[in-house]
């Protein structure tokens, strides 16, 4: 409760203090003045009486000497001029009454002898003076004076003093109020400002600097205090915001962290359910990031992560949210997607954004990503389930060869379980001799000659039987078994290919696939050189097929390795061309001699105009880059015919020859001049 009574307010107190002090001062002054005047007027009266007595007494000496009462009477008559003197008594030297003067006879009288003087009346003043001539006492005079004059004068004095006191009080009160207003006025405005600051959220209000020095100083100090408060408040808010952000932000990338992601995902799911929308979730894992961290250090790895985060973020819609949920793992919440296609478009756009290598610490680093997509529809459950689905879809993307986006399906769950079994089985597969090699021929489409065989790894499991490379290669890559597996296949193939050279009429090349994981290991080139030495296979006949994902990681390192291989005489082929998100400008600078167009583009040829456009464009592009083009997956004569017309350099496919554990008979027929018995439609039709 705010005390507001007059006595408790500063204004009231100032006024009261001023009035009380003025009153007290005036009272003291007035009383002192009156008392002083009273005393002095009485003393003055006494002095005057004494003087009169002396004068009259001296003037009466002769009358007393000569006993002349008439003369004495006459002298005493002089007292008539002093109206306050009511009686004058003259005594001779023997103290007997000699002569007297009475103002109004009857009112009073003189005592007959000096000793019998009347007691002093309070309203009267008396004086008794001896009349002396030198040492001789001539007589005495006794005067009685009334106090009318003095009292009247005192009354006038009191009246005047009270009047003056009243005027002073009025003036004092008036100036006190003015002073009070001048003091409390600025205080009140200060109070108003303080109230504004207290009531409102804002610290914008400032007190006007006015009034007396002290009040003005108070206003200045007060303003300073508000400014300080404002500053502290701002700092507190900033600190609060920072803390809030820190708890929900990834310090490295500045993106939301797992916590904020989880919160947002729950909200987004609730919102999507309410609004009957489809929610999409992308789980992104960077390919080859571990390799960057291992070869270039965490410092570069961290910088790369920031760059990746920034680039991904630039390709995420404002309504969606990108978060970093782990080392090289990101998630994107797609708040509203029309369906599977929308989510895939979003995922592919992100993959595309990563195609161009990153420049960190003066090094170009290629980055790919495996993206798992899951979508929330009516039937689906909660955030945890959605995240789990995206996560397993992401693993599926990795298994399918990385740098791609895969949508979740229920089969993926089985794949995940299968994967664990495969991994444990695969570990001993090479040493147990379960891995063997198939060779598939590749032909020159202009000369129809057999050019080379591509070595393909095969796994025959004693229980599960033949297991497709599509299934076990990703597992091998993920688990690191690929190093052992790849080396085994290459050595096996080289050994076999050395034998071919004696059977064939011309040198037959060998194509070996090297996984990006394998290639990115530091000792990759050294191992290849060692194998070539051990087997004695000439490097000029070796063709190494690499996918675009070799460019994941430091571009410079990869480029150097490629150049080293090239310098050995090894031919480098870019495998599965067109499926990845390679940056073409970089490819042009690398020592690839040849492209292998992925079978997926060939499958719909020649009927699909889309496939036609893609394949013809790829061919034109490759030729412009002065590269030879191998087309794989040729299964029909029409496709072969068509590719010939488009100018494909080499071909491979079931139509031309299936992978076979034993390629030697084909070599023998080659020596006999049988190139491709099915190469000519007429030949084929003739056979049919």
């Amino acid at each position: 409760m705010r005390p507001s009574s007059l006595t408790n307010s500063l204004a009231g107190r100032i006024t009261a203090v001023v009035l009380i002090s003025i009153t007290v001062a005036l009272l003291v002054f007035t009383v002192a003045l009156i008392l002083f005047d009273r005393v002095s007027s009485r003393e003055e009266l006494q002095a005057r009486l004494s003087t009169f007595a002396d004068i009259v007494g001296q003037n009466s000496t002769a009358a007393l000497d000569f006993k002349d009462t008439d003369a004495a009477d006459q002298v005493l008559q002089a007292l008539r001029r002093e109206p306050h003197i009511v009686a004058g008594c003259l005594y001779d030297s023997s103290s007997m009454l000699f002569s007297q003067y009475l103002q109004t006879p009857g009112d009073s009288s003189c005592p007959s002898v000096v000793e019998k003087l009347p007691a002093t009346d309070i309203r009267q003043r008396t004086v008794l003076r001896e009349i002396m001539r030198r040492d001789e006492r001539v007589g005495a005079i006794f005067l009685i004076s009334d106090m009318h004059d003095v009292i009247a004068r005192e009354r006038r004095m009191i009246l005047l003093a009270v009047g003056l006191a009243f005027i002073a009080l009025v003036i004092g009160g008036f100036s006190g109020s003015i002073m009070q207003i001048r003091i409390t006025g600025p205080l009140k405005s200060l109070q108003r400002v303080m109230h504004e600051v207290t009531a409102g959220d804002s610290f914008k209000a400032r007190a006007e600097v006015k009034g007396t020095t002290e009040i003005a100083d108070l206003a200045i100090v007060f303003n300073g205090m508000i400014e300080e408060l404002e500053r502290r408040d701002l700092m507190a808010r900033r600190a609060e915001a920072t803390l809030h952000n820190q708890a929900r932000t990834d310090a490295l990338s500045g993106l939301p962290n797992r916590r904020l992601f989880t919160e947002t995902l729950c909200q987004a799911i609730a919102f999507a359910r309410r609004e009957h929308r489809t929610l999409g979730l992308l789980y992104i894992d960077l390919d080859g990031f571990k390799h960057v961290n291992d070869s270039l250090g965490h410092h570069v790895g961290d910088q790369l992560l920031c760059e990746v985060a920034a680039r991904l973020n630039a390709h995420v819609r404002h309504s969606d949210m990108l978060a970093r949920v782990g080392g090289d793992e990101f998630t994107v919440i797609l708040r509203s997607v029309g369906g599977l296609d929308d989510a895939e478009v979003a995922a592919n756009s992100l993959l595309q954004s990563l195609a161009k290598p990153f420049r960190v610490n003066d090094q170009d680093i290629g980055v790919g990503a495996s993206i798992g997509i899951s979508t929330l529809d009516e039937s689906q459950s909660d955030a945890t389930e959605l995240l789990k689905q995206a996560d397993s879809a992401m693993y599926a993307a990795k298994r399918m060869g990385r740098n791609r986006a895969v949508h979740f399906s229920s089969e993926l769950g089985n794949l995940a379980r299968e994967r664990l079994t495969l991994e444990s089985e695969l570990r001993g597969a090479v040493s147990r001799g379960e891995i063997y090699v198939h060779y598939q021929p590749e032909f020159d489409l202009t000369s129809d000659r057999l050019v080379r065989f591509e070595a393909l790894a095969r796994w025959r499991h004693p229980v599960f039987g033949e297991i497709s490379p599509d299934r076990f290669i990703p597992v091998a890559e993920d688990s690191g078994i690929i190093h052992q597996l790849g080396a085994f296949v290459m050595e096996e193939a080289c050994r076999e290919a050395v034998a071919w050279q004696t059977l064939a009429p011309y040198p037959i090349q060998l194509a070996v696939n090297v996984s990006a994981v394998q290639f990115n290991s530091e000792s990759a080139v050294k191992e290849i050189v060692a194998i070539l030495k051990r087997t004695g296979f000439p490097p000029e006949l070796l063709q190494i097929e690499l996918t675009e994902s070799v460019m994941m990681g430091p571009v410079q390192v990869s480029a150097e390795k490629l150049q080293n291989l090239c310098d050995l005489g090894v031919t480098l082929v870019l495998d599965d061309f067109g499926t990845g998100y390679s940056c073409l400008s970089y490819l042009a600078d690398l020592p690839f001699r040849c492209l292998k167009i992925d079978r997926s583009f060939v499958k719909n040829l020649p009927d699909s105009s889309e496939s036609f456009t893609v394949v013809s464009s790829l061919l034109a592009l490759a030729h412009n880059m002065r590269m030879r083009v191998i087309v794989e997956g040729i299964e029909r004569t029409a496709q072969l015919q068509f590719l010939r017309e488009l100018g494909a350099d080499e071909g491979q496919g079931f139509l031309l020859g299936r992978p076979d554990a034993n390629p030697r008979p084909r070599l023998i027929s080659a020596r006999q001049g049988h190139f491709l018995p099915v190469l000519r439609p007429d030949v084929e039709s003739a056979r049919v």
Binding site: A62, D65, F66, D68, V75, R133
Partner: protein
Amino acid sequence: MRSAFVYNLIKYVQWPQSKRIVVIAFIGDHSTGLSMKETLEPKLSDGRTLRVLLNPSDSELLTCDIVYVTSDETANLSFILPRLSRTPLLTIGEDDRFPRIGGMIGLVRSGDRIQIEVNLGALHRAGLKMSSRLLGIATIVSSKEPME
């Protein structure tokens, strides 16, 4: 009675030279003079000793400070006064004519009282001063018949 007056008068008169002894020449009948002598001589007036010479000679007269002339001797006054006029000699008479014919103070009987009459001109000429307080109770007269 008149002795007391003389005694008091001396208190109000100032001579050119201050006197330690005031000599009074009494001119009149011997018995009156003697009683005055007996009255005044034991007294001190303002600390001064009083001396009364009864009917002094002319030479003695000139050494006196006061000449007191009784009313019986007023007839001889015209004879006495001119001789005294230029000396600081206070002349006191009993007759009311005394101050009017050149005397200075007359102690004139009026009923049962004695009236003091003063001739200021005569006092002044003699170089004497009289207290104004005495003048307050005295009657001032002047010489009506200037001496030719």
